[in-house]
Symmetry: C2
Subunit: 221 residues, 2 copies
DNA sequence: CTTTTCGAAATGGTATACCAGAATCATGCC
DNA sequence: GGCATGATTCTGGTATACCATTTCGAAAAG
């Protein structure tokens, strides 16, 4: 979420990254069609790689495919979003448990440093930047569990929920409690205390559920 | 796993289904390259849809993509497979818990009927058929949890682990304990007893872990 | 004025031609 | 004889042309 307008993206993954950014920032609003020719011309690329990029985004759940029709930018309902949060919760709790068991000292140190960075930059830093750091921390914790399949699937859910998380988080930051959760998670990880880790992660994830519910209650798109 | 040699598959999903079957049955052994031109000609289809089919299989984890190289039929190591089983375990346990809470009476009845079918056909029936029914039962239980995201992700893991599960199950059936687990799961579901459900599913999934470990210990491919 | 119908434009799906990088093998040098 | 090196062949990546279906507006019937 930093590059402004890079040159013509050549690989499908790069095209997907660009479209993903446009979707997540709202430049491509939910429900809008993703027409192959239009976006291909706009991005200075052929239909073939753009088509593949759309498929990548579809697999991530950011766009929904319709046979013989234009794909649409995904527009999950409240219940669908909560279902995804529920799965994310299970994946992340499992990741935390594995991290307590398998994380190396270096990984713990990196996570602790990142937590401090978030805490330091929280007040003055760019909210988007802080939000990305927060997500990166969760990703690192799961990665520290040393289960590649879990890390991959967890990453997919994070990507799919990025926009909702972002729009939920910017409404009310809950800054103090979020930071307290982070501190608790880092401490639990350092102590390899799976019970404490689970408690702090549950607190964190419960807050996410509340944020999402409030987001939709306030007519979020 | 029934159609012998259908006519030219026209849609990518159909092509993917055919390739999937060939991979899971071992016709395309793990590690073998999936060359676009060869298979496109063999299946009487162009490279474009076949390419998309390969991407579908890649997302399912059945083939691994390499930049500028032929994709390979996936050949997971023991640890990778066990990692995936561990995630499947979490997903399935969560599905069982949700099923106890959200399943309708009709869904419970369907699952109970299927369990009886498996039990009846187990002795004489085709092993492949029985295996598919077993997997279908797990799929139905998770689906009864009424969490679409969970069902989708769980289905992906089932597909990815199909071959290993199949080759593990055919070695030693563990028939009696498997059927006992099924009965226990159905009973727990009917009683909406999440604790009992979890215990029986854990028994089932522990057996799966043992099967996979034995499969690799015996030099499984 | 509303509704239906027909046709032109648009759009996704597929086939094919072309391009760039990689693998392979023959050849020549050490 | 072994190894580096080069050209040929093969393979995935991309662009483009063609086709089938859908869509949507205009025109005509009610």
């Amino acid at each position: 979420m930093s590059d402004p307008a890079p040159g013509p993206a050549t690989f499908p993954a790069a095209i997907a990254a660009r479209l993903r950014r446009e979707i997540l920032t709202g430049a491509l609003p939910p429900g809008s069609p993703v027409k192959e020719r239009d976006h291909a011309e706009r991005l200075g690329v052929s239909r073939t790689p753009l088509r593949e990029a759309v498929r990548i985004l579809a697999k991530e759940g950011l766009v929904t495919l319709r046979p013989l029709r234009s794909p649409l930018v995904a527009d999950p309902t409240r219940d669908e979003a909560l279902d995804e949060v529920a799965v994310l919760r299970q994946l992340e709790l499992f990741g935390g448990e594995l991290a307590c068991r398998n994380a190396t000292a270096e990984e713990i140190a990196v996570i602790a440093r990142l937590s401090e960075t978030v805490e330091r930059d929280h007040a003055g830093g760019d909210p988007v930047e802080v939000f990305d750091l927060d997500m990166q921390m969760h990703r690192l914790i799961v990665a520290a569990g040393h289960n590649a399949a879990l890390a991959r699937t967890h990453g997919e859910y994070l990507a799919r929920l990025w926009r909702i998380r972002f729009m939920s988080a910017r409404q009310r930051t809950d800054a103090d409690r979020v930071l307290a959760d982070h501190r608790g998670m880092v401490a639990a990880l350092a102590a390899r205390d799976t019970g404490a880790m689970r408690r702090h992660m549950e607190s964190h994830l419960d807050a996410l559920v509340r944020n999402v519910e409030r987001h939709f209650a306030e007519g979020g798109a």
